[in-house]
Symmetry: C2
């Protein structure tokens, strides 16, 4: 039997405790599978006194997580503190600089500092593993980095945030509003007290920036991700989507275009018969198009104690077996510079919902604005007829460029008969 | 730059040529990702003169594939000859015995000789990689062996044969017969001239035996797989399935039960809203239930040049990076003995279609036979009324044991009013 692999775990929230429990419960199987035991030697968290339902007495305690990186009885630092800066960053940087392997679930840290951290890791020969950071227990990092090592990825997209997918699923099946369902989700623990990171698409954008780096072998560039959340989606949009043969999903999309790599997170209408449409509730899914593999789809729970702990432990087992792959699939100094396509170049169809006064000339005003911007209308549907109440106008376009569509929307916004803000949802045909 | 990884490729059919093409086309990316070049040094096939659309001149030629294992300029033997015995087996055994790594797409060889080959590999320290053997380009071997290394698998099932899935999909949407669609599939190249291996479930059973070994860390036992194909499925069954809220799929299923591990391949009725139901045409899908991960689903093309070559090259890249995992997830001498649950213990619901003469007492005879065997009827539907023509009786049962159901079917077969062979399809509620 070889020497044990010794872990220092920082952060003992739901996931940290899940990792401790899983390593303990499956200890025999893990030893057999890795050919050596995996042991926790030290832990660190904010509050030593808090009862967490696991026995921490066998492990050394550090008040300062960064101290784990200085211990000579730790081979791998497991960073489950979270946050793009602060102690998480200090710990990961210190560990990697010292040549110590790091396993993390921290998408924010990697999305913001991923390229620099990969360079530090490569310089010292440390591993930086982060399966748990993207789509929880779905082994999508492994699939992209190793399973598709011979392929050329052309396009990837996915449902990367369970909270948003739960809210959209519930809105669709119950007809209730975003605010109502969000309140329910908060009560059920599916959404945070401050839901901004989830519902405004920031969490999904963190994950997408990492998937884009992995899939296309390029530097992480979170700042270039176009990000739009789901808070403006209404039950009316969901009904319209259904009638048009679509579902609304918050997707993260990264694809190779003539203008560079597009990275965007926003609500999408996707064909009801596409692979991603039936993925409901808190489930995550990632679709990868690659050459010569074709399309593969990966689906599973994207968050929570079990799936996240499973992914963290899988990364630990890789290290215990002595297996390593470059952080983003190629050595950090071979990563391509991030050549980001401007959002204005996005090519595709659009759904536009307008609230208008039902008066002569409205339709003509709208269609001239579209024609002037060179956007071709595919269908128009007016909901109801009323001389006193505003009515809804639902329009879909043929494929066009984002810049043209935005020009049309600007002009439409200025029309006298149009009330409030036009609703624009991009249609994705995969 | 490290030394190149040198390959000897045996078998230059569609997949072998696909591997040569892919290694050539993506050579730069592969070198970057692996940190070293991957080179072909020697090849072997039956006919040296055949034109294959790739330039083989740069590689040494061996008439005898086994000779590749004796070359000192080969680090990895890539076995794409196929077949459970003969030259494929001789080559793989010789290579592993010599401590030479093997990458293969050969499910038949591994299903029949997998445990012995894993022992040989472990004894000499050679790797035996076979991502391409199961579900083509879907990285399911990697997911089970590495991505779920911390988990306990409880249940796995999948659509493992694209030919059968194509035939069932086409039968459902066109209403045409098995024989008709099979003939089309043969013309399209989706089915072999002799389709037995595919349509009788043998190919799926090979793959299932490997998935069961991987998922449950046990010896491969292909002989214990209960195997039934799709040749007896009729358009009438597909219509009945739809009416009952099901789809018919040929599934491979492996699960932990109180009686051991169940391994079975047979047509199943699956709920129309289950994850696997919408997987149509030649697509493969595998669903894994694990603790604590929960359900994950993996979907993609299961066969063909591109997907299979992609999987073979991914295995090669693992070896080039120096990454290794035990053949079936644990060292061969730690594999559990194959404790197979008898098919008679299968627990679940059933669909039964009878052709009967429409006469008094038929229903009573059938229901007594069911009652006597302790099988509880959930629904009965008689199609049509006729004094001259036989009519169809469609029955679904509540959950029961296979042995009880077979006892009921035996008794029903003996009833005077029952014409021909009763059709039995198992219903799976996941």
């Amino acid at each position: 039997m070889s020497d044990p692999l010794r872990l220092g775990i920082a952060g003992l929230g739901t996931v940290g405790v899940g990792v401790v429990k899983l390593l303990t419960a499956n200890s025999d199987a893990i030893t057999r599978r890795c050919g050596r035991p995996v042991e926790i030697t030290a832990v660190s968290a904010r509050n030593r006194e808090k009862y967490r339902g696991v026995d921490l007495k066998p492990y050394a305690w550090e008040d300062d997580p960064v101290a784990l990186a200085g211990r000579n009885d730790v081979d791998v630092v497991v960073e489950l503190v979270g946050g793009s800066d602060g102690p998480a960053k200090a710990l990961v940087e210190t560990a990697l600089s010292a040549g110590m392997h790091v396993v993390t679930a921290n998408k924010a840290l990697l999305a913001v500092h991923g390229t620099a951290l990969a360079k530090t890791a490569d310089a010292t020969g440390a591993a930086l593993a982060y399966e748990a950071a993207i789509a929880g227990g779905i082994p999508i990092v492994k699939a992209l980095r190793e399973g598709l090592a011979g392929d050329r990825v052309t396009h990837l997209y996915g449902i990367l945030n369970g909270t948003c997918n739960y809210i959209l699923s519930e809105m669709r099946t119950t007809g209730r509003s975003f605010q109502d369902i969000l309140a329910d989700a908060q009560e059920l623990g599916y959404a945070e007290a401050d839901p901004t990171f989830d519902v405004e698409g920031i969490d999904a954008a963190h994950k997408l920036a990492l998937l884009a780096a992995l899939g296309f072998g390029r530097e992480v560039n979170f700042d270039a991700v176009y990000t739009e959340g789901i808070s403006k989606i209404t039950p009316e949009d969901l009904i319209a989507a259904e009638e048009l043969g679509y579902r609304i999903k918050l997707l993260g999309i990264a694809c190779q275009t003539d203008h560079g790599i597009e990275q965007r997170v926003h609500p999408c209408m996707v064909p009801a018969d596409s692979a991603i449409a039936p993925v409901e509730d808190v489930v995550n899914a990632v679709v990868v198009e690659a050459d010569p593999l074709g399309q593969t789809v990966y689906e599973g729970r994207g968050a929570g104690e079990g799936p996240t702990a499973s992914a963290v432990v899988a990364d630990i087992c890789d290290l215990a077996r002595g297996n390593r792959s470059p952080v983003f699939g190629v050595p950090a100094d071979a990563l391509a510079a991030a050549d980001d396509a401007p959002m204005a170049k996005r090519h595709g169809a659009y759904y536009l919902r307008l609230t208008v006064r039902d008066e002569a000339g409205v339709m003509s005003g709208v269609s001239s604005a579209m024609a002037e911007a060179n956007v071709s209308i595919q269908s128009v549907l007016q909901r109801g007829r009323s001389t006193s109440e505003p009515v809804a106008l639902l329009i879909t376009t043929h494929e066009t460029e984002e810049a043209a569509m935005m020009q049309a929307v600007d002009a439409i916004r200025g029309l006298g008969a149009v009330i409030g803000e036009p609703q624009v949802i991009r249609i994705e045909h995969f």
